[in-house]
């Protein structure tokens, strides 16, 4: 019996150790892959070329869809920002998903919206529509008021109402850089196989916004927001860019993604899920592989969307819980893809990797923390080893974080102050002491409550618009 326990303990530790090496090793490889991929992508998007696209006739018009549920604090700034985008032909469709606050009335008052009767295409199913509005001051701005049905339902309404062959899905608490649409849609112009692209999401907290535009980029002030800044940089630059190389990108953030409408209609639009963004992309992969359609789903690193991240622990944990439930739901829905050669690289590499690292990751990591402490106290691990291993894991994680921040600075240079970068590097260093464990525990809870469908909406902060005062 004693021998059995010993072997069990050894087996658990070996699995966790291998997992640790695999996880950090793969992140390290992905970081290097990203460096190669990003540099090339930025080179092919010079500002002159982008200007030529915007002044020529070679763009593809886009419908920007903004689902909004109780977004009274952010919706006006967000729509004002969208109205200033540098793109030759686009429409904005705001979908009020049965908000119980003043989202609707604020939109109507601020943008001179008038009720219209416009027949909609009925390709995708959704909850009933109450009314449709068009802005008298901005003819390319539409508002649809509908019964509450969730974000996916609101997006389906937007797709039905949209006029153009491409649509961009956005969050109502996000701001786009002025040429983000041009940069994200450029690939649709140049490559017939591109069916979806996603841009990078960065943290808006700490930045200065004037007239719906970001005028000064600074690192956030609060520690919690700084941790998330580092996470976003690492997640997008190393986590997503590298998957382009395998055409196995499984997530395009719901905060900013551009899709070919016909493909989304072909898969029946968004499915009701708490992780509708990932679910859509996984189903796109599935559909195209099944139907043998040549396709590309790409992460484009240069179009930037700025989004507000939760500034209190409660909202953050709710958000992460929902993300993880969404991830599991999506992988569960498309479970037949995993290790299935019929789905090519995405089935053989992308989905299994996501299952192992993202879906089961928190469970394995938590088991690692738990057994580490347990074995340490019961003398199965020497104190020497415990300390050295802990130091190694913190240093490796820090290296990855600082590597991502460096990568971000090599390519984007959005933060102009060295102090901001050092501040983020500091939070990259201490992320592994407390913050990471907190998120792991929340994701673990989500793993065992994956069937829940509640959204868990985060507390929103107003996007402070610092309109410069006119000189008297």
């Amino acid at each position: 019996m004693y021998d059995f326990v010993i072997y069990l303990v050894i087996a658990v530790e070996v699995i966790i150790f291998i997992y640790f090496l695999f996880l950090n090793g793969s992140y390290t490889i992905l970081t290097f892959l990203s460096l190669i991929n990003i540099r090339g992508q930025l080179a092919v998007a010079s500002s002159q070329y982008i200007d030529e696209l915007s002044t020529g006739v070679f763009y593809r018009p886009i419908s920007v869809l903004v689902p909004a549920f109780n977004e009274e604090k952010t919706i006006i700034s967000s729509v004002s920002n969208l109205l200033t985008l540098n793109f030759p032909e686009y429409e904005i469709v705001v979908i009020n998903d049965g908000s119980t606050d003043d989202t609707l009335s604020l939109m109507i008052a601020k943008f001179d919206m008038m009720e219209i009767e416009r027949p909609l295409s009925l390709k995708l199913h959704h909850e009933p529509i109450r009314a449709q509005y068009v802005s008298l001051s901005h003819p390319n701005l539409f508002l649809i008021d509908k019964e509450n049905g969730g974000k996916s339902d609101a997006l389906n309404v937007g797709i039905n109402a949209s006029r153009y062959p491409l649509f961009c899905s956005m969050d109502a608490d996000s701001l786009l850089e002025s040429d983000a649409l041009l940069r994200a849609s450029k690939l649709f112009v140049e490559d017939r196989e591109v069916i979806a692209t996603g841009g990078i999401i960065r943290v808006l907290n700490g930045c200065t916004v004037e007239n719906g535009k970001i005028t000064s980029v600074r690192a956030p002030k609060r520690a919690l927001e700084c941790f998330q800044s580092v996470e976003y940089i690492r997640g997008f630059l190393t986590g997503r860019t590298s998957w382009n190389a395998f055409n196995s990108l499984l997530i395009i953030s719901g905060a900013f993604g551009i899709f070919r409408k016909d493909m989304i209609q072909a898969i029946g639009g968004y499915r009701k899920s708490v992780g509708e963004d990932m679910d859509l992309v996984v189903r796109l992969h599935r559909h195209c592989n099944k139907e043998k359609i040549r396709y590309k789903i790409l992460f484009v690193p240069d179009p930037v969307c700025w989004t507000q991240v939760p500034s209190d622990y409660r909202s953050l944990l709710k958000q992460r819980n929902r993300w993880h439930r969404g991830l599991i739901d999506s992988l569960r829905f498309s479970r037949g893809m995993s290790l299935n050669p019929r789905y090519g690289k995405v089935g053989l590499v992308g989905v299994p990797y996501f299952l192992l690292v993202e879906a089961f990751g928190p469970t394995i990591e938590f088991a690692g923390y738990f057994s580490f402490v347990f074995f340490f106290f019961f003398g199965y691990i020497s104190r020497d080893f415990a300390l050295l291993f802990l130091l190694l894991s913190v240093l490796w994680g820090t290296w990855l974080n600082i590597g991502s921040i460096l990568l971000d600075n090599l390519i984007y240079r959005r933060y102009h102050s060295v102090w901001d970068l050092l501040k983020l590097s500091f939070f990259g260093l201490i992320e592994f002491i407390g913050y990471r464990q907190l998120i792991v525990v929340e994701r673990l809870i989500a793993t065992f409550t994956f069937w829940k469908t509640e959204w868990g909406k985060a507390h929103r902060q107003e996007i402070k618009d610092d309109i410069p005062q006119e000189a008297n």
Binding site: S46, I116, P119, S121, F378, L392, L421
Partner: protein
């Protein structure tokens, strides 16, 4: 009690040494990254500031030099200054007349900017540097680089550079280069239809400027009549003619409509192109297009029918009962633009049993009833 890692890796001293080495390496790498981050940030900010200053300087000095208000224009002597002057020249070329553009090119040649960019294109080991050099040269539209582009098209294997070379060549190509260019575009997996349109627009525009309309039409006619050119490429060139509003191409487009009547894409494209070029030519083909079996053709036809005479009104009225939503809505919208006759047709639809036609008329007429 057993120490698990001693059991797996051997005595404590062995794995301890491994772990300590790994920690030291990682610590060193982390410090290197941090130092690189700070040094790079400081360097890049200074470089960016200098680049912005140089650009600002050339934006003031270069136009003044061209206008003769300033006699002196210093020759750039490093890559940052060369790029700044090249970028300012590219912006200028897009805005000035052909004579001044020619002078700008001559100045750039004289000051070694073109040679420097060519040097980068030919000898740099980084594809990114070659790509950027090629893009700048392309924007400068230097006719003498045509043989270089053609040679590059034959030898280059990097697809990113091939597509950029095709784009650069499209500004300076001659009629005899078309087979080489189309041999790339004929591959249905190469780039996209929009990219083809982009290239053809450059090609037609520059060819027209250099040789005039008659040779351009003859070149287009040769292209459209060439049996070896894939039909979808012909569609792209028709689309380009429409997008750039090239009126002399109208007879060729009408001819293509008749010749390729069995290909839906060509019918759609010709209708769209004629919609922007010639109402008379459109009138010749609109009636058959309005009753086309393919709904996409009916959509484009109903969208453009407003340019034709009121004889289209009954057809459009009929299309308001079409089984396709897009046809119905476009027919209604076009009727609204066709004066009193069109509006009368919409008002008639308001009293019909057909709910779709009623709703659409209601929507289109809005407050104008």
């Amino acid at each position: 009690m057993i120490d698990i890692f001693s059991w797996i890796f051997g005595p404590l001293t062995t794995y301890r040494a491994v772990l300590v080495t790994a920690i030291l390496v990682l610590a060193l790498l982390t410090i290197v990254l941090l130092v690189t981050l700070v040094v790079h940030k400081t360097y890049i900010e200074l470089r960016e500031a200098r680049s912005a200053r140089l650009r600002k300087k050339f934006e003031t000095v270069f136009p003044a030099f061209l206008e003769g208000r300033n006699e002196h224009l210093s020759t750039p002597n490093d890559s940052l200054a060369i790029d700044a002057l090249a970028d300012v020249a590219i912006d200028q070329i897009a805005e000035v007349d052909h004579k001044t553009a020619k002078r700008i090119r001559a100045e750039l040649r004289e000051r070694g900017i073109v040679d420097d960019l060519l040097e980068r294109l030919n000898n740099s080991r980084s594809w990114v540097k070659r790509y950027r050099a090629l893009e700048r040269l392309g924007f400068l539209k230097l006719v003498e680089l045509r043989p270089i582009y053609l040679k590059l098209l034959e030898t280059e294997t990097d697809l990113r550079l091939v597509s950029k070379t095709l784009w650069a060549a499209s500004y300076v190509a001659e009629e005899e280069d078309l087979p080489l260019i189309t041999s790339f575009l004929s591959n249905s997996n190469f780039m996209s239809a929009k990219f083809n349109e982009y290239l053809f627009t450059n090609l037609i525009e520059e060819f027209r400027i250099k040789h005039g309309d008659d040779p351009t039409v003859s070149m287009l006619s040769g292209f459209l009549n060439n049996e070896t050119v894939p039909v979808l490429l012909k569609r792209d060139i028709i689309e380009s003619c429409g997008k750039m509003g090239y009126t002399p191409s109208v007879p060729l487009i009408v001819d293509a409509f008749h010749r390729y009547q069995d290909i839906t894409e060509i019918r759609i494209t010709t209708l769209r192109a004629l919609g922007g070029l010639s109402a008379d030519a459109l009138a010749e083909i609109i009636t058959s297009a309005l009753s086309d079996p393919d709904w996409r053709v009916r959509v484009v036809a109903s969208r453009n029918a407003g340019l034709c005479s009121e004889s289209c009104v009954p057809h459009l009225e009929e299309l308001m009962r079409d089984k396709n939503y897009h046809v119905r809505i476009n027919a209604a919208k076009t009727l609204f633009t066709m004066g009193e006759t069109g509006k009368a047709a919409l008002r008639r639809a308001l009293t019909r049993n057909d709910r779709f036609a009623r709703d659409i008329s209601n929507y289109v007429l809005g407050g104008s009833r």
